[in-house]
Amino acid sequence: MPSTQKIYTLFKKDLLLEIRQQYTFYGILLYIASTIFVLYLAMGRPEASAWNGLFWMNLLFICINAVAKSFLQESRGRMLYYYSIAGALDFILAKLMYNLLLMLVMSLLSLLLFSFFLGAPFAKTISFLGITCLGGISISLVFTLLAAIAARANQNAALMAILGFPLIIPQLLLLVKISKSAFGEIFNTGALSQMILLLCGLDLMVVILSLILFPFLWKD
């Protein structure tokens, strides 16, 4: 059975590592900034639909870089150590929570930088902020399990992109459609809440599948 204390300790370990090394944070920050500069130089201030597409693609690439690290940094010896002190469920729950927090911060940061350099074509700022958070959460959950799979397959980071891009498309499509509402597009009554519910349902399914499937990846 997962215990709250173990999950908290593992979560705190990842967070402390991040705060002390500050490798992901500044690495990703540089990544976002340089991507946005290139985009600005190439496109200037794009119109709303191009902005929307660029934003979610950018978030996808950030996620691959940020989440991949969380499993790839764990060496074989360290995994053995975790194996002896905690259960599979503790471990995956801690990782899910940590990646969720990381992606939440990264999504909001890239939203800030995007608005600063590429302009902010959305009409409803608050609702787009909410959609960005929802998007960061959805993407981070899917990629946590995929990172665990890729880490098992000889620590292959490129594999994560190959596995992840097709699998993330349902969520990404929903997110792109939902965020159009923040750009002022009008939906049929109920269509928007239906899509948000569907996205939350998919997220819940991904979490449940991660909890069920991760113990099989954990044993070696």
């Binding site: 399990l145 799979i149 098992r152 397959a153 000889n154 292959n156 594999l159 190959i162 596995l163 891009f165 097709p166 699998l167 498309i169 349902p170 499509l173 929903l174 459609k177 269509a191 239906q194 899509m195 569907l198 998919l202 399914m205 599948l209 499937l213 099989f216 990846l217 070696d220």
Partner: protein, 225 residues
Amino acid sequence: MMKKSWWKILAIALLLYTFTAGFLIQVPIIGNLNQTIRNLFFHVPMWFGQMVLLLVSMIYAIRYLRSGNLADDIYAREFARTGIIFGILGLVTGAIWASYTWGEPWSNDPKQIAVAIALLIYLAYFVLRNSMPDMDKRARVSSVYNIFAYFIYVPLIMVLPRLVQSLHPGGQGVEGNPAMSGKDLDPTMRLVFWPAVIGWTLLGVWISTLSIRISKIKEKNWINA
């Protein structure tokens, strides 16, 4: 012999029926479909077949995780492979149909895109498999991926295309082909359609079992060990 292979005989009989009755019966002429509506007996069963084959593949992946028997992994792999073949055939038959009714073989229809993505998901399954030389690890990791992939595959092809406008029947908007989806399928066409679905699906299972037998012979050293 009859006891074991009755379903193969049934598959042949149903497919013979599909090919004869499918081309001979009176079909309703709807819109610009004309006689191309007969493709319903070939194009649509590919997707039914793919769903069944991939479901079977996932069930064997679950079985592998529970039993650790490498034979189960071979089943999962070969059913997924036939599922991919059915997907390619479905895309090709759809493209031929579309070039006569929609004017071009590929029109970025949501369903076309969704099934193309589904193909990518399952091709990635084989990339993942080949990235690991160790057999037990390969079987376990790819089983986990297989199960995860099926749960994404179903909403991808069943739910998402229904939320948007589509040229296919069943989508939102008025542009879809009329009077061909589900319950308002023509009664005489239904008499051929469902046998065709069963026949093609059985053929898919048959192809899979053949390749499973070949794999088992090739890999018997590992399975028995």
